[in-house]
Symmetry: C2
Subunit: 303 residues, 2 copies
C-alpha cells in the first residue's frame, strides 16, 4: 500500500536574499516524495539524465522512497534556475532547460498501477491524465497545476481535473481557473470542475481547504528565518497526501478532522522546507520535529 508520486526530479539553481546555490537537487516530485516519506510508504515515477548524482539517489533511498520508477535516460536532467524577490513572495525564472524531461512519458509498473494513493506533480495535464487512467484501485488521487496550464492548456486541464479527488493550487491560480475574484466563489467554481477537495495555498499567509461540508483555514507558520521557498508548495502537498494515506482514508470517508489535520501537516512540511536551501532541511528532519511543530500550530491557533 503506497503513495505514488509523479513529476519532475531536477536540478535547480536558486538565488534568494539569503544566498545563492548554483546547482542542487530539486523538482516537484522530489519535494513531494521527501515530504510524504515521513508519513507513508512512497514511490516515485520520474525521469532523470545520466548526470543524476549517486548522492541524490542515496538521499531519496535513505528516506525509504521506492525508486523503481525513476527512469534514467541518456542526456541531462531537467534544470531550472530562478531568483526570488526581496520578500521571497515572487520569483523570476532565469533558465528552464527541460532536457530529458521534455519527452517524459511516465511508465507505471503493474504494482504501481494498483496502489491506492496518487499525487500528480505539476506537469502537462494530459500526462497527468494518462497516469491517473492507468490506476485501477485508487482511494485518493489529486495533484497540482500552474498558470501556464490554466491559460494555454485549459481544455486538457479541465478533462484531467474531472478525474481528481483533490487539487492543490495557490489563490491566484484558483482565481484564474475560475474567473472569480472572491475566494469563496472561486473555490465553489473550481470544486464544480471535479476535485471535491480543494486546498488553496496562500504562501506565508497559510492555506484554506474547501470540501463538501465546509472549509478549514490555517494561518502560516512564522519562520525565524526564511532561506529558500523553493519546493514549499510541493512539500505541503507531500505532507497533505502523506498524512491522508497514513490514515487510510479515501475520497468518501475523509472526515473534516482528517482533512484539517492533513492541511496542518502540509503547512508544517512547507514551513520546514523554507528553512534551508533546496532539500537540505530533509537531511536532518525527524518525525519528532514534525510532531513538535504540529503541536506549535495547535498552540498558536487555539482560542
Amino acid at each position: 500500500m503506497s503513495l505514488v508520486v509523479v513529476g519532475s526530479v531536477a536540478y535547480d539553481g536558486v538565488t534568494t536574499p539569503a544566498g545563492k546555490v548554483d546547482r542542487m537537487l530539486g523538482g516537484a516530485c522530489t519535494y513531494i516524495a521527501l515530504s510524504a516519506s515521513y508519513f507513508t510508504k512512497t514511490e516515485i515515477v520520474a525521469v532523470v539524465g545520466d548526470d543524476f548524482a549517486q548522492e541524490d539517489t542515496d538521499l531519496l533511498a535513505a528516506h525509504g522512497i521506492g525508486l523503481d520508477g525513476l527512469e534514467r535516460v541518456a542526456g541531462k536532467s531537467f534544470f531550472w534556475a530562478g531568483v526570488y524577490s526581496a520578500d521571497m513572495n515572487d520569483r523570476e525564472t532565469l533558465t528552464t532547460d527541460l532536457n530529458v524531461f521534455a519527452t517524459f512519458d511516465p511508465k507505471l509498473s503493474a504494482s504501481q498501477k494498483q496502489q491506492p494513493y496518487l499525487m500528480l506533480g505539476n506537469i502537462q495535464p494530459a500526462l497527468q491524465k494518462t497516469v491517473r487512467d492507468q490506476m485501477t484501485s485508487l482511494s485518493l488521487v489529486g495533484g497540482d497545476t500552474m498558470n501556464f496550464w490554466i491559460n494555454d492548456f485549459r481544455g486538457e486541464l479541465l478533462e484531467t481535473l474531472k478525474g481528481w479527488n483533490f487539487l492543490l493550487i495557490n489563490d491566484s491560480e484558483a482565481k484564474l481557473l475560475s474567473g472569480e475574484s472572491n475566494l469563496k466563489k472561486a473555490a465553489a467554481a473550481v470544486r464544480a470542475l471535479g476535485p471535491k477537495l480543494l486546498v488553496i495555498k496562500r504562501g506565508e499567509y497559510g492555506a484554506t481547504l474547501f470540501h463538501e461540508h465546509g472549509f478549514f483555514s490555517v494561518p502560516g507558520y512564522l519562520l525565524h528565518g526564511l532561506k529558500d521557498p523553493t519546493g514549499a508548495g510541493d512539500c505541503f502537498a507531500g505532507g497533505f497526501i502523506g498524512y491522508l494515506a497514513s490514515r487510510g482514508v479515501n475520497a468518501e470517508t475523509a472526515s473534516h478532522q482528517d482533512l484539517a489535520k492533513a492541511v496542518v501537516y502540509g503547512s508544517v512540511m512547507g514551513s520546514f522546507c523554507c528553512e534551508e536551501f533546496g532539500v537540505d532541511r530533509f537531511r536532518t528532519l525527524t518525525r519528532d520535529d514534525i510532531e513538535a511543530r504540529f503541536e506549535e500550530f495547535r498552540q498558536f491557533t487555539a482560542f
Copy 2:
C-alpha cells in the same frame, strides 16, 4: 467603567468595485466605537462641524455610545474620499479635507480621565500622547498609527508608543516601523519600543498577536461578498479592546486565552464591517450575530 475612544469622526466618499457612496458617516473613532459598543460601555472624544447630521448622532446614541466628548464647532466635518483597487487590497486617496479636524484638541472631562480603557485612533502621535498623559487610572491603553506618522513623525511616535500597552498595525507598517522584513523579528523590535501587546493585521489573510509568552494567529474570514473595506481595521480594534474591557483585564493580567479571543472578536467585527458600505452593517448587527460568527471562526480553525 468605560472605554474611551479618541479619533476622527468624519464623512467619507468611497468607491469600490461593489459601488460608490458620495458621502456617508465614517472616521476611525466612529468605527472603533460602534464596534466596541457591542462589548462594553464606550464613549468618544472627537470633533465635528456644524454639518454633522442628527441621524448620525442618533446612530451612535442608539448604540449607547457616550457623546459628551463629541465637540461641535463651526465649520465642516473632516471629509475623506478614496477609491479601492479591483481586489480592494489597496486604495487611493482622492480627497482629504481636514476641516475642523485640523485643529482637533482632545478635551477629556474629569470623568473620562478616570476611565480604565483607552483606545487612540490613528491621529498625530503627539496628540495621542497628550490624551494618554491625562488618564489617571488606566488598565489598558493602546492605539493605531500609520505610514505617514512612522515616516515623518517618528520621534513623536516613539515617545508616544512608550506609554502604550498595545499597538495595532498592519504588516507593512510593522516592517516600516522596525526596519525588519521578517515578521517575527519585526514584532520583537516593535514590542521593544513599548507596546508589549502587538497585533499585526494582515487584511484578508487574518491577524497575528505577539505578547510576552508567545503569539496567536487567526486566518481571515472568507466573505461571500466584500462591499467596502473602509473601517475594517478600526472595527477590528474596537472588537479587540471592547472584548478585553468587557473581561476587565489589565495589561498585566491579560491571559493568552483572553488575548486570543480578543483577536478573534476583532476579526469578527472587521469581517462584518466589510459586508456593507460604511457603517451600514452596524445598523442591523446584533450581539447574537457576533457570537454566531465567533463560533464559525472556531469551527473553521479547529483541528
